[in-house]
């Protein structure tokens, strides 16, 4: 994955309005609730381990106090030493238990979120995928979920720890000296106000930084894909200087954000150091004033606690921005999860299979968007076993018919009937089983050649797969591969040619027993000679089936029982070859242009 850094949660992410923030927190809570018992256990461990950690420094106070010059109570020191060891050891063990169990829980929650996301995703309508960029969905499922889970596992604990440490240290400090604590009454609000003010300033700069980086990454991705074209036009210099512009913008934005952010850490540190100086100063003054009120051991313990106390306060800025980005990521995750699903089948949906393959379009009206109807009033009746050719220039919308037939989209008005039953009244599974599709965009997945051919036809024998491959004229190629049918295809079949991919999908289509066939420029990537060779197999495939063919091969079109001429999405002419020629319209023009 590329361009990743830009996508990752930076510290400058948008802040959600409180209502949406609450919604996200509620949804996360639902996931946390599933893990109730482990979480309660973790909570106890966190409290225990931090309390033990707090006791440690407290023990240093009596230990140091008994170290009086010339009068050291060694057995006492030894006693405290042993006590400290036990405390620290127990604290470490508990914090170990805590991190192991928290990691386990948070990863389990990640797993659950991903599982739920994909379960939803696989039930989304096709329209969702047509209108969303896969990159976005992928980044939600990987980076956004990761951001949420990282925040769950670290921030939750950190917040607990911080709360315990801060209150604990505060109580301890109060116990040691109430007067000295006054120093913090001044410095803590300053550092909190300062942090928030800085966060507000820095956030837009970080957003700018992500944006510019994204632009540069986009440009790199785009132009490297076109390396040869750049060479062929000798445009290297121009592209380098264009890249340099983006590069400069990205680096500058990075620098600006960093320049501003640089101030934060040292400043908060400064405030801490000042409080340390003040604490020491006042502490010693108190000691001078009255050694009963303040002992050296107390000063030491107070300083140790004050370091513990300011640690989490320092982190607050970080945690705050991390939580902001986690919430923003969480919102994207739940927004994706809440996308509407494909409308479920009617409860009384017909589940008997389609046997004849009779198709009827009745007053079909359809548009991909509400405001733009592209099919106005389509009426056709297709007898079982007939061939319907859909022709028209590229980009005219020939695939729309397929989208409607397969119920990837539903018609706006009118109805489509298969075997006399409205396709919306039949279960999708049964309806789709009636179809076999070979599409122009070949699709293979990262599995073996065998799995790819048998995909969708469970329980076929190896011999049947081989026969299908033979019929599609791809058996020879497969057997020439080093591992034959077990060869793994990677990245949508990047290791084989376009034409071979298409032959594999044709082989896949040879297997299932269906009554309607859809060929969407099925042989567009196959060279003519191979096309001629597989034409027998294609004929066998088509035999006895109702066929919807999108093609530019004249012979197929001429013999079709019905030709639909598509232009700008709508069907402008329909009829047989001779009828359409006689009509002298769009079809006739297209036909004759081939022979000029």
């Amino acid at each position: 994955m590329n361009g990743i850094p830009a996508k990752k949660g930076q510290s400058g992410v948008e802040k959600l309005p409180s209502k949406r923030r609450k919604a996200v927190l509620y949804r996360l809570w639902l996931y946390l609730r599933e893990m109730k018992m482990p979480l309660i256990f973790i909570g106890i461990v966190v409290v225990a381990s931090n309390l033990l950690g707090l006791v440690g420094p407290k023990l240093t106070e009596p230990a140091i106090n008994v170290i009086k010059p010339g009068n050291v109570d060694l057995p006492q020191v030894f006693y405290y030493f042993k006590l400290m060891l036990v405390c620290y050891l127990a604290s470490a063990l508990l914090s170990l238990v805590q991190s192991v169990s928290m990691t386990t829980v948070s990863k389990r929650i990640t797993f659950n979120i991903r599982r739920d996301l994909f379960n939803r995703l696989s039930r989304f309508p096709v329209k969702f995928f047509d209108t969303h960029q896969s990159g976005e969905i992928i980044s939600t499922m990987s980076y956004d979920v990761d951001t949420v889970s990282a925040s769950l596992s670290t921030d939750l604990i950190q917040i607990c720890t911080a709360a315990i440490t801060v209150t604990g240290s505060f109580i301890m400090m109060l116990m040691i000296s109430r007067v000295l604590v006054l120093v913090f009454v001044v410095t803590i609000p300053i550092s909190i106000i300062f942090s928030r003010w800085r966060a507000k300033k820095v956030r837009p700069l970080f957003r700018e930084r992500s944006g510019k980086l994204g632009e540069m990454n986009g440009f790199a991705e785009e132009s490297i894909g076109g390396l040869r074209t750049i060479k062929a036009y000798n445009r290297e210099k121009q592209f380098i200087s264009r890249f340099e512009e983006k590069n400069k913008a990205a680096v500058d934005a990075y620098y600006n954000a960093d320049y501003a952010a640089c101030l934060n850490g040292p400043s908060v540190n400064f405030i801490n150091n000042i409080s340390l100086a003040l604490v020491s100063l006042f502490g010693v003054l108190l000691y001078l004033y009255d050694p009963e009120v303040m002992t050296p051991g107390a000063i030491s313990a107070f300083v140790l606690y004050s370091r513990k106390f300011s640690g989490p306060i320092n982190e607050i800025t970080n945690i705050y921005s991390e939580i902001q980005s986690a919430l923003a990521a969480g919102e994207r995750v739940f927004r994706l999860m809440d996308e509407p699903l494909e409308k479920p089948d009617e409860p009384d949906a017909v589940t008997s299979p389609v046997v004849f393959g009779e198709v009827e379009f009745e007053h079909v009206k359809f548009g991909y968007t509400e405001d733009k109807t592209i099919i106005h009033d389509l009426n056709i009746k297709v007898k079982p076993g007939s061939v319907i050719a859909i022709v028209g220039p590229t980009g005219a919308g020939k695939t729309t018919i397929v989208n409607l037939l397969m119920r990837f989209y539903d018609v706006n008005e009118g109805s489509i009937k298969v075997d006399g039953v409205d396709i919306r009244d039949r279960s999708r599974k049964v309806l789709r089983q009636a179809f076999t599709m070979v599409l122009q965009d070949t699709w293979l997945f990262g599995g073996s050649v065998y799995e790819n051919i048998a995909y969708g036809s469970e329980g076929v024998t190896e011999e049947q797969v081989r026969q299908a491959a033979k019929a599609a004229k791809i058996n020879g190629f497969i057997e020439s591969l080093p591992e034959g049918y077990s060869t793994m295809l990677t990245d949508n079949g990047a290791n084989i040619s376009k034409g071979q991919k298409q032959l594999l999908t044709i082989a896949r289509a040879m297997l299932p027993r269906s009554v309607i066939l859809i060929l969407d420029e099925a042989t567009s990537n196959v060279d003519t000679r191979t096309e001629a060779q597989i034409s027998d197999a294609m004929c066998a495939l088509m035999k006895g089936k109702t066929c919807f063919v999108i093609a530019h091969r004249l012979s197929t079109i001429r013999n079709a029982d019905l030709i639909l001429v598509v232009k700008d999405g709508d069907i402008v002419e329909s009829g047989r070859h001779e009828e359409l020629l006689e009509l002298g319209g769009a079809y006739a023009e297209m036909y004759y242009s081939q022979y000029n």
Binding site: A92, R115, S223, L276
Partner: protein, 579 residues
């Protein structure tokens, strides 16, 4: 290369470290400033110890206030020093990153096609994007923590040793133990995270697949199966992620335990030392402060380590690009008198140097003539184009343009002759105008003329803002045929001497295809054309047609000749025309 390389590549080979070198003085300055800042911070506990041990018993209030003021001044120095140093470090890291990125891009663009194939486009892209980003982060971290953390550790130890040498011994013994523990844990963690990354890659590619194939999956009702497939991948990520998370979460408790152990030891040992009268109470207090500082610094070093190993891995990947050879501009070659505009002389070539992809190919093309190349998918048609465009050089034989060996023609002059529409369509997310012009400045007139001849003018003008219409990423808002016409328009816009169309007409319907051919014949009669096609109708009127099959030239000649003599050609024609 058998002939002498005339001009060495524009950009010499350099490693990432070479980009850092010029900035070393500046980095030293950063370190110094940082050093001052960190040192000031380090003095705080010493000052505190003096206060408790010496000034307090002496009840010297003015001196005490002076110490308080010094502590505040030290804090200010720490503040200013750290901010300045951090900003300077940021500037340096930015400059280095910018230079590295520039040169990686420059090198990438100038790689020979063979070399670029070796790297593959996705890795080149990720090198330019995530690897340069990692290096940037590393440069920053190293300058910031790389100085601060060791100074805090070493300085802490030194200052502590001034306080009490014996107690420091505890620190000295403890630190290597801490360091080795942390190192071992992080090394294991890094390894485990590689696995996590692999699992994540698997998930991304499965998701991409799923979305690409959503129609097929739905058509075959395979959603359940896909869910199982995803569950397995998800489970796998969960397992490795959990393991890596647990291992890395060991670091913090382990370190805290070791250092707290040391802290307790200091108190115990301190007690004995005070007993013996060799140290004081205040020293122990200060010592404990140093312990905390050192603990935090060690944590920083741990983080630095993680970042460093990531950054070094990225820098190595960048070095691979930076150190590879760029293609030479031209080499020495001969020039002969030739009646042909383009000629291939006994050209033999193999991509992988095993099986010849082209063997002993010879032909000559006069000015204004057309060469058609036809053959099955994967039969080697594009190889001829790749050789003609000098993307690859022939292993044997020679390709000439106007008698000149193309290897001896400087790139600038060579490519000016060509207008080419290649299979790997490259349209930028920019205006249509800029996509046709392609940064050549051919002028509006020529852009429109090119688009007209390529039959793109019509659909361009249909767009709301015509030629100024901005294309989406990967020109997703255009159909396949429209994209091809834009690419052809680009090729035609400069009215080239040689026009190369590599399978550019496949997405055009027959009518558009034939109109295009008519336009080429009419407006580009003087232009020598090389057209690769799958349809015979596209190349039928070419002066020479090469028929290719399985990497070999089966026959060559006019349509008429081939119809009479070449069975393969005749079969293809018959299948396509089928009347």
């Amino acid at each position: 290369m058998d002939s002498t390389v005339l001009n060495d590549s524009l950009n010499p080979k350099k490693k990432v470290t070479a980009y850092i070198k010029p900035f070393i003085p500046a980095m030293i300055l950063v370190c110094t400033v940082k050093f001052a800042g960190s040192l000031a911070e380090l003095f705080l506990p010493t000052l505190l110890s003096d206060m408790v041990d010496e000034i307090a018993p002496a009840k010297d209030v003015p001196r005490m206030i002076l110490y308080g003021v010094i502590m505040i001044i030290c804090s200010v120095i720490a503040l200013v020093g750290n901010i300045c140093a951090n900003r300077m470090a940021s500037k340096i890291a930015s400059k280095i990153t910018r230079n590295v990125r520039h040169d990686v891009y420059e090198k990438t663009v100038s790689l020979s096609c063979g070399k670029a194939d070796e790297f593959t486009a996705p890795t080149l892209i990720s090198r330019l994007t995530s690897d340069t980003y990692n290096v940037h982060n590393m440069l920053l971290m190293v300058q910031r923590l790389g100085v601060r953390a060791p100074i805090l550790v070493i300085g802490g130890v030194i200052l502590a040793s001034f306080l009490d040498g014996m107690l420091t011994l505890i620190l000295v013994v403890l630190m290597p133990v801490v360091f080795v523990t942390v190192f071992l844990i992080s090394r294991r963690g890094v390894k485990l995270y590689d696995k996590v990354q692999k699992g994540a890659d698997d998930m991304v590619s499965m998701l991409r697949e799923h979305m690409d194939g959503i129609r097929v999956i739905k058509a075959l009702s395979k959603s359940d199966y896909e869910r199982q497939r995803f569950a397995a991948i998800n489970e796998n990520i969960n397992k490795s992620d959990r393991k890596a998370g647990i291992i890395t979460s060991l670091t913090s408790p382990a370190m805290t335990l070791l250092l707290n152990f040391g802290l307790s030891l200091v108190i115990l040992a301190g007690a004995y030392r005070v007993q013996a009268g060799s140290t004081e109470q205040g020293v122990i207090i200060a010592f404990l402060s140093y312990f905390t500082i050192i603990l935090n610094a060690m944590m920083m070093i741990n983080r630095l380590f993680m970042q460093l190993s990531k950054g070094i891995a990225s820098a190595k990947r960048l070095d691979e690009v930076l150190e590879s050879d760029s293609e030479p501009d031209f080499v020495l070659g001969d020039k002969i008198d030739s009646p042909y505009h383009i000629s291939f002389e006994n050209v033999t070539f193999s991509y992988l140097k095993t099986r010849n992809n082209i063997e002993n190919l010879s032909f000559g093309l006069k000015k204004g003539e057309t060469l058609g190349i036809i053959g099955a998918t994967g039969s080697g048609k594009s190889t001829i184009i790749n050789l003609l465009l000098r993307f690859y050089s022939p292993d044997k034989g020679c390709i000439r343009i106007d008698g000149e060996d193309i290897r001896s023609v400087p790139r600038q002059r060579l490519y000016k002759m060509f207008g080419s529409a290649l299979q790997t369509d490259f349209l930028m997310s920019d205006t249509i105008y800029n996509n046709i012009d392609f940064m050549r400045g051919v002028g509006e007139e020529n852009v429109v003329a090119g688009a007209r001849s390529a039959l793109a003018d019509g659909f361009i003008r249909d767009k709301t803002d015509g030629y100024m219409h901005k294309l989406d990423v990967k020109a997703a808002n255009l159909s396949g045929g429209q994209k091809q016409r834009l690419l052809i328009a680009r090729a035609l816009a400069s009215h080239p001497d040689i026009l190369v169309l590599d399978d550019s007409c496949g997405g055009l319907d027959y009518k558009t295809d034939s109109l295009l051919r008519a336009n080429l014949a009419e407006n580009y009669a003087d232009c020598t054309k090389v057209i690769v096609a799958q349809r015979i109708s596209t190349v039928k009127n070419a002066d020479i047609i090469i028929v290719m099959d399985d990497g070999k030239v089966v026959d060559m000649g006019s349509h008429k000749h081939l119809m009479e003599n070449c069975e393969l050609y005749r079969d293809t024609a018959k299948a396509q025309m089928e009347l």
